[in-house]
Symmetry: C2
Subunit: 204 residues, 2 copies
């Protein structure tokens, strides 16, 4: 069995959302599974890259991306009503992802899709522990088994996300989304064609 593809993302990024609608299907065509790995982008930006200003606030570049996001949604053929990143704090959703992943990676993927849907499609940023728990219940979490709203606020949930973010950075991840194919990194939803080409040709 070839190794799974690692799909690194933060729920914040609409490009992560776009990629999430394609990556499993693409990988399956080459006999690969996909391991979804949430990390906390703000942690990487500030602590690792030394970037403190949100890139949407950078002159000219920010305008480009504000125009590009809906354009790429149309290109991917997916609905988009998020209207920007600024009102979403993804920490609770990111922490919840890993708690769910420990129970069942399939559940964690369904949860991730639900979070993307809340934020990028329904324009309801799931910021609070309660919203995050509701999203998990929507996709099949047994709420008797795990009180997610409480669990995401515990120190071990924070520590887990910090560890996963460290692991992403150690793997060379600095942007969202990033795909790792046999240790080869590709940044950006717009580079899925290169991921595919790498899979098809076995590298180049």
């Amino acid at each position: 069995m070839p190794a799974p593809i690692d799909f690194y993302f933060d729920f914040l990024s609409p490009y992560g959302y776009f990629a999430s609608t394609r990556i499993d299907t693409l990988a399956a065509q080459y006999g690969r599974s996909v391991c979804w790995r949430v990390f906390y982008m703000r942690g990487i930006m500030q602590d690792r890259l030394g970037q403190t200003r949100p890139f949407l606030d950078v002159p000219i570049k920010g305008d480009y991306y504000k125009h590009d996001v809906p354009r790429m949604a149309r290109w991917f053929g997916v609905p988009l009503n998020s209207g920007g990143l600024s009102n979403f704090v993804s920490a609770n959703a990111c922490r919840a992802f890993w708690l769910l992943d420990d129970l069942d990676p399939h559940l964690a993927k369904r949860f991730a899709r639900e979070i993307f849907e809340w934020h990028h499609v329904r324009a309801t940023p799931p910021n609070t522990p309660e919203q995050v728990a509701q999203a998990a219940a929507n996709v099949g979490l047994d709420t008797e088994q795990l009180d997610l709203a409480t669990a995401v606020q515990l120190p071990e949930a924070k520590e887990r996300l910090r560890r996963e973010t460290d692991a992403a950075a150690a793997a060379g991840v600095w942007g969202m989304p990033t795909f790792a194919v046999d240790g080869e990194l590709f940044w950006g939803a717009d580079r899925l064609y290169l991921v595919e080409d790498w899979l098809r040709r076995g590298g180049w």
Copy 2:
């Protein structure tokens, strides 16, 4: 006649070099010509974006790009021996481009290809006015007509590049290379497939 595509670049970027080997052929398939427009990336980065640290020096991100540049050269199927950006100061070459463009845009394109070749293939960064003049002579500049080594050092040559850099920023350009198709901007040599898709479908 449909409007030409604007191809914005700084000689510094290997991605600009990669794109320069494709963009005219791609555009011609859709009945378009290409207007090559050099700008001074350091001016945009520092004055407009507030970025003072060369991105290759950013932790993690810099390593990604150092690995990506030769990988993308292989993908584009073009030779690359530049070994990084750090030893090239592109200002003289950028100024020369516009002086040549005033004489003959075809000459300016040939000059641009020659500069890319010196820097990215022969690993001979054409930093000095004399090297830049030699590169222009190699591709057909009548040295009796224009003493390029002197001309690039004149205040009007500096002012011209500043004006063109301002114009690029005013058009929304913040990275290299950028393509403008009917006012629609695409950043990155790895987005040439989107430029092509936009041309083919007339937008989406």
